[in-house]
Amino acid sequence: MSTTTFAQALNRALRDSLTDDPDVVVLGEDVGTLGGVFRITDGLTRDFGEERCFDTPLAEAGIAGFAVGMAMQGFRPVIEMQFDAFGFPAFEQVVSHIAKMRNRTRGRLTLPLVIRVPYAGGIGGVEHHCDSSEGYYAHTPGLHVVTPGTPADAYSLLREAIASPDPVVFMEPKVLYWSKAELDLPATTAPIGTAEVRREGSDVTLLTYGPQLPTALKAAEVAAAEEDWDVEVVDLRSIVPFDDETVMASVRKTGRCVVLAEAQGFAGVAGEVAARVSERCFHSLAAPVLRVSGLDIPYPPPKLEHSHLPGVDRVLDTIGRLQWDDEPDLTYAGGPGDRAEAR
């Protein structure tokens, strides 16, 4: 066993994919000589040559569209959007072409390409560097949306994404790039489309993914030590396809559920997950499904990001509101808002 960071695992996945399949190419902004601003593509140009890993002009729609054209010629492009918010110029290519090509051509023209997106916050980044953009992609039929939370998954899911016949948006939580694990690579973890129970528990299911996985595990530890709540933590790993089976099995077992996601909550992935759980596990639930998510604000400046990011306390408070004593939860009902004042 050796200590491997999340970033190293991604780099190794790219290397192994480049080695195994001559059609794999890596392209994007600064991915060549520099090795990417997060060094995920470190050394690839040196070791595999300009043909396999190369810098492109600075234009994200161009990068995505160019990859579409290369995929038409049988290549398997892995493109990097330098940061979440800088993937937005490519959005039209992603939504109108990458997501739809298989469908509009009845499966005759497929685009096996991977869009790597370093995403979310918690790194003290200034504006436009910390957006949680997974919801936009997950809302788009035709894309797989995958987000690893551990170095082993970073490796295994990226390998699988590159080998997939479908386009995959591979969301890399920036905050986890420097996280470590004792790990021997190559390693194979559960496939895309499956969630994993990261910590078993019997009282409440905490569903989460990507950047908030460490928060969830920490909250579970604190809950056990201080509140005597036995929290089961489920890592979704794959937003699309979604693993209803693992998620529902856990909630039916525990009877309570909190969904934890860093993204702004309104109309987002956490809301979808909460709705799915409510629809499928209603009779097993002792309390409404609650969400802990980012605030519905543009991502805040670094000095205020702690108010926005969910954090262990907010998770514990929310678990505390799961009607343990059979009282309805009115903690924030009405709030000091207009309606309360009008009354």
Binding site: T56, G69, Q93, R108
Partner: protein, 370 residues
């Protein structure tokens, strides 16, 4: 000093013949001749003429099908016939073609079954033909987005070393979109064998070119990207063929991308649903009717004795047969299957799609069994 002269288009659109089908005295000019734009042979022009006659018959039949409610909508390219067919006839076996919604006639010239061309507009599915087998991308509606695909495909073919070239069509209005510029830049930087053909028909729906661009001509837009650029009289089939041929050879030889602007005009409205009288005059349309590319080339070929009335009648009959076959097949009600909605979204349907497929199948079964 940077040498831009070789990138710049000819000061006037390249042209071999006037509206009457008479060769212009002195040919297309010294620069054009120097650039290798040669008057095509009679045989080549006969092929272009035939494809235009058939293409136009297809086009008018498609317009008629909208009136009978067989097509949801049809964007006609009548008047742009030379641009529609001549470049397509220069494509080699391995080349890829990237058309827009306007370019149905071009697809027919490419040899794609007219019914498969119209699948999108009949509403049976989206793309009706096999893009891989025909090396033709689906007709692209989000403006200019196909141009980056063409750049990438061209680079892909270069990497494969198969000698292929990507030919990409785009409208005048779409040259304002960012993707067009990103495509030119990518194609140039990667020295990709791509030919971009702007069909400048003067309008983007209702908006005239004067509100679209202040460029001296759209062909100048290639120069800033280091791309060889040219402009051509898009209603002179000989000129369109000659310039496209040179452009394809340029790209195929490894000399990088090429941009062509073809000055032309659509004689019909933007689509059958559009009312063109709101933004252009009858006089303007009449003027362009006088520049009809088919009339022009037919006169030229008749005058030279390369074509006779018997052959004209023959090809006209061929066109009628194509139209009759199209009518007959478009009048059949094709079966559409709701279950297919779930089949191509992913290589394997997600569990969520399987659930929805079950729901729709159950609804269908209920409808069928009362």
């Amino acid at each position: 000093m940077t040498d831009v002269q070789h990138l710049l288009p000819c000061p006037e659109p390249v042209r071999f013949m006037d509206e009457a089908g008479t060769l212009v005295p002195g040919g297309p000019g010294e620069l054009a001749t120097e650039r290798g734009y040669a008057l095509p042979s009679d045989d080549d022009l006969l092929a272009v003429w035939r494809a235009m006659v058939l293409g136009r018959r297809f086009d008018s039949q498609a317009t008629a099908l909208t009136k009978q409610g067989r097509l949801a909508v049809y964007p006609s390219s009548r008047g742009q016939d030379a641009c529609q067919v001549a470049p397509v006839l220069t494509l080699a076996e391995q080349d890829w073609f990237f058309p827009t919604y306007r370019d149905s006639m071009a697809l027919v010239a490419r040899g794609i079954d007219p019914v498969e061309v119209l699948t999108l507009l009949r509403g049976d599915w989206h793309c009706g033909y096999d893009p891989v087998a025909t090396r033709t991308a689906p007709q692209c509606t989000p403006l200019a987005t196909q141009s980056v695909h063409a750049a990438g495909a061209a680079y892909g073919m270069k990497r494969r070393g198969n000698g292929g070239v990507a030919l990409c069509y785009i409208g005048d209005g779409a040259t304002s979109e960012g993707d067009f510029h990103e495509a030119l830049n990518f194609a140039a930087v990667f020295e990709a064998p791509a030919v971009f053909l702007v069909q400048n028909n003067g309008y983007a729906i209702s908006v005239p070119l004067s509100k679209q661009s202040k460029a001296p001509a759209l062909s100048y837009k290639g120069v800033g990207y280091g791309i060889r650029s040219e402009q051509v009289d898009g209603n002179d089939p000989a000129a369109v063929l000659a310039v496209t041929r040179a452009a394809m050879e340029h790209a195929r030889a490894g000399d990088g991308p090429f941009l062509i602007e073809a000055h032309t005009y659509r004689l019909e409205a933007h689509t059958n649903a559009d009312d063109a009288t709101r933004y252009r005059t009858k006089e303007e349309v009449a003027q362009w009717q006088g520049r009809d590319p088919i009339v022009r080339l037919q006169r030229y070929l008749l005058d030279r004795g390369a074509l006779d009335q018997a052959r004209v009648d023959e090809v006209t009959a061929e066109g009628e047969a194509l139209a009759a076959d199209l009518r007959a097949r478009m009048n059949l009600e094709p079966e559409v299957r709701p279950s297919e909605l779930f089949e191509h979204v992913y290589s394997t349907p997600t569990p969520q799609l399987r659930e929805q497929a079950h729901m729709v199948a159950a609804e269908e079964a209920q409808v069928m069994h009362g």
